[in-house]
Amino acid sequence: MAKASKIVEDVTVRFAGDSGDGMQLTGTQFTETTAIVGNDLSTLPDFPAEIRAPAGSLSGVSGFQLHFSSSEIQTPGDSPDVLVAMNPAALKVNLPDLKPGGTIIVNTDSFDDKNLRLAKYNSNPLEDGSLSNYNVIPIPLTQMTMETLKDMELSVKDKEKCKNFFALGLMYWMYNRPIDVTLKWLETKFKNKPEIMEANKKALMAGYNFGETTEIFTTRFEVKAAELPKGKYRNISGNEATALGFVTASLKSGLKLFLGSYPITPASEILHELSKYKEFDVVTFQAEDEIAGISSAIGASFAGALAITTTSGPGFSLKSEALGLALITELPLIVVDVQRGGPSTGLPTKTEQADLLQAFFGRHGEAPLAIIAAKSPADCFYMAIEASRIATKYMTPVVLLTDGYLAMGSEPLRIPDFEELPDISVKFRTDPEGFYPYLRDEKLSRPWAIPGTPGLEHRIGGLEKQNIYGSISYDPDNHEEMVKIRKQKIDNIANDIPELKVDGSDTDELLILSWGSTYGAIKEALRNARKQGYKVAHAHLTYLNPFPRNIKDVLDKYEKVLIPELNTGQLALLIKGRFLKDVIQLNKVKGRPFKVAEIENKIYEVLGGTNGN
């Protein structure tokens, strides 16, 4: 019997299970397929810092949330419509986020005494009526998977492992997704393990067919392709986008790309990704520690490479002395800080925006450098290119701030033509005539004269140098002059970046000022609030140091300025201090991104509900 198909605009799904249940994999596959169907989408993986916490325990729950839509979206969704819970712990941890009346697909096989005890349930939630407000779909996933694979010569453990693909197949059926993308992926992934490939394929198809035949489901849902700007698209995570942005910058500039890095969550994936691209002459040097990571990059920059180092909070602080060296030697260098929860080891797999002040001030001495921040996973691609452009043009270190949420989350990227991307032309100094290492052009940038160039032999280093000539100088007036020049050089970048754009009008009653990954949630909140008649404007800072040249004019136009941040008020402090502007803060430091509703509610609170309607 054909089942009814219901068209819906958008859906948020969360897969949740044990760290070993393959939830990230399931989520990524669902994402890939959804991307190909043409929906707009946004994802949020969420997993513990431990590789394998004890099976069935609350701390071992791993989740993957995906929001997909037939219209443009900016966030992975506040609360899921559907929760796939592989065990009681996954149910317990994720239930509070689920939409009232939402659907729960549970693997009933895992609801045994042991797992219930591990999840600290006093009674079985599937039986005690506590889930009566939800649409619970109990499915013996393990048993059905085992039944599907009963004729295969595999260990019980290997067979059980396939249950996530059974669940995935079911979800593909529910949301009218094709299964061939995942079938193809399985063929490549398990090329050398044909039995495992076959088992997973069978489980996937069995899950799909189960949806088709069972009486449990009467309706399936359809989310039509989104109307996005014309072009070719791919799905991309923030870390992948960052890596590809740098490879592209290397192609644009003709410079060899050099990454000196030390693995750290959640930045390591940039290292993994770049390590693949040897055919682009990319050097990835996995250093012995964070300091060697940045130091090797400084050496590479001195030698003429487009040098980057990637890290996260604790590693960023280890790099700060060397960052000062790159700054005083006025060499291009990009430090990508994929921010995570701190201080110290903090919350390694969770997100935060709390390194802004470290980026600004986390060095000894007067040490200004350029700081920019990406606003979405796909935007990381453009920001990596922009960081490269600024670093090489102004001969300065640039800090590129992303965060765990951007790094791990993904969304569609419209693939730009190579020609559309900004020009990064670099000219090394080769003429010995009148050469001095600290000569300055109109932007105050010094020449990049690299070893191997005859006649330009020179020495630079961390000691203060005489302007122009570059010889060591302890002269007090010269030092002060150099401090000012280094600051002015950074300030000059303001002439080379776009003005701050306001989404809204001068007559709006509130300006939201934001930076980094809060962009998406704010955009959606803005749309909702405007629908309610509220007069809200929004300006998003991509450039943090220097700020866009018109920032003060923008701030002056609004009496009320709201700054939402995933910290206790770091941008707010800078704005108050720099522009003597009183601001309203919305802060969250929970290791999680803002929900749209949180921003929306703050707007309503600030505007007192008297605005608009």
Binding site: V247, T248, Y277, V283, S295, A297, A303, I450, E457, I460
Partner: protein
């Protein structure tokens, strides 16, 4: 060693390698000798001047790059090896030298030192060892002898010193030589040997600090005593020392023993014959231990030289291999390597 540049290389003299910066070490500092020997031998390094880069960390020794008329980078404390690694990897055509002290390289930079050795980066490390912190004015260093009284150890140090040779050996250095500031000819020879070595080379220079550790190596440099305290290592030659070449070293199992060549019982044929290309590290380790033993002379010369592929060479070979498999990188290939879809 590559000789590609030799044919076109100008005939350099020491002067070509001398910068116009005033040298500001203390009078009598052993660093002057190191600078002089480096400048004298640089024309023999087989490389164009513009392809030579000197990198340093912090400390008296680390001012070295300023005095060389080559490319130079004065870094931060301890990180010279890491910076040099980046220079060499980004441009393997460059000949990269590191000037570093015992504190810089074996204390704050210990991690980078051992890992540069382990990876066999093709860089040359000249380790100025005066067994003291000079620039910070006289604290003990990781090579100071146990019990050393300094400003930061008024009752004597309680920690054991590092032995650079053992450390470099254990970490996988493919070349280790030791020389002394007062032995200019010997030092020149060691520097040339290091320049010619493909892979990581450490040249440890025993160097006097006249201000904070004067005479640390006096028995090895005083004319009256040095021949009894210094053992010159030469490949294929027996280990013989002493004013009248009357003492030798033989191996009793794994134990080195000083023998009297005039006692009628021993002859030079009993002596251990130095093999610097010995691929078995055992003898090299025994040699390295000499300075830890009271009764043994201090070896100078090339301890060992083994050949292993260098990191930078292996890295770029891998790049070429990948290129031959995948073809040169291209933007469209990069961006379209995954599932894509069209929005009309």
């Amino acid at each position: 060693m590559e000789t590609k540049n030799l044919e076109t290389k100008p005939k350099y003299t020491a002067k070509d390698f001398s910068s116009d910066v005033d040298v500001k070490w203390c009078p009598g500092c052993g660093d002057y000798s190191i600078l002089a020997q480096v400048q004298r031998t640089s024309p023999d390094f087989g490389e164009l001047k513009e392809n030579i880069v000197w990198v340093s960390g912090i400390g008296c020794s680390s001012r070295f790059p300023y005095y060389m008329n080559t490319y130079g980078f004065h870094g931060i404390h301890g990180r010279a090896a890491a910076i040099a690694t980046g220079v060499k990897l980004a441009n393997p055509k460059l000949q990269v030298w590191v000037a570093t002290g015992d504190g810089d390289s074996l204390s704050i930079g210990g991690n980078h030192f051992i890992h540069a050795c382990r990876k066999n980066m093709d860089i040359k490390i000249v380790l100025f060892n005066n067994k003291i912190y000079g620039l910070t004015k006289g604290q003990y260093s990781p090579t100071s002898e146990k019990g050393k009284i300094t400003k930061s150890s008024p009752y004597g140090t309680v920690d054991f010193p590092f032995n650079a040779s053992k450390l470099a050996d254990a970490a996988g250095a493919t070349f280790f030589a030791r020389t002394i500031d007062r032995e200019p000819k010997h030092m020149q020879e060691m520097l040339k040997r290091a320049a010619a070595h493909k892979g990581l080379a450490v040249v440890e220079v025993y160097q006097n600090c006249p201000i904070f550790n004067d005479g640390a190596y006096a028995p090895l440099t005083d004319k009256t005593s040095k021949e009894d305290y210094v053992l010159y290592l030469e490949h294929g030659k027996p280990l013989v020392f002493g004013k009248n070449k009357d003492k030798g070293i033989k191996l009793d199992g794994l134990q080195p023993v000083v023998i009297d060549l005039n006692d009628g019982k021993h002859s030079v044929d009993d002596c251990w014959v130095h093999d610097e290309f010995d691929t078995d590290p055992t003898r090299g380790f025994i040699l390295a231990r000499f300075i830890d033993m009271d009764h043994m002379p201090t070896p100078i010369g090339v301890f060992r030289q083994v050949h292993k592929p260098t990191y930078d060479e292996e890295y770029w070979n891998q790049v070429e291999y990948v290129k031959s498999k995948k073809g040169a990188g291209d933007y469209n290939k990069l961006m379209y390597s995954v599932n894509t879809w069209d929005v009309e």
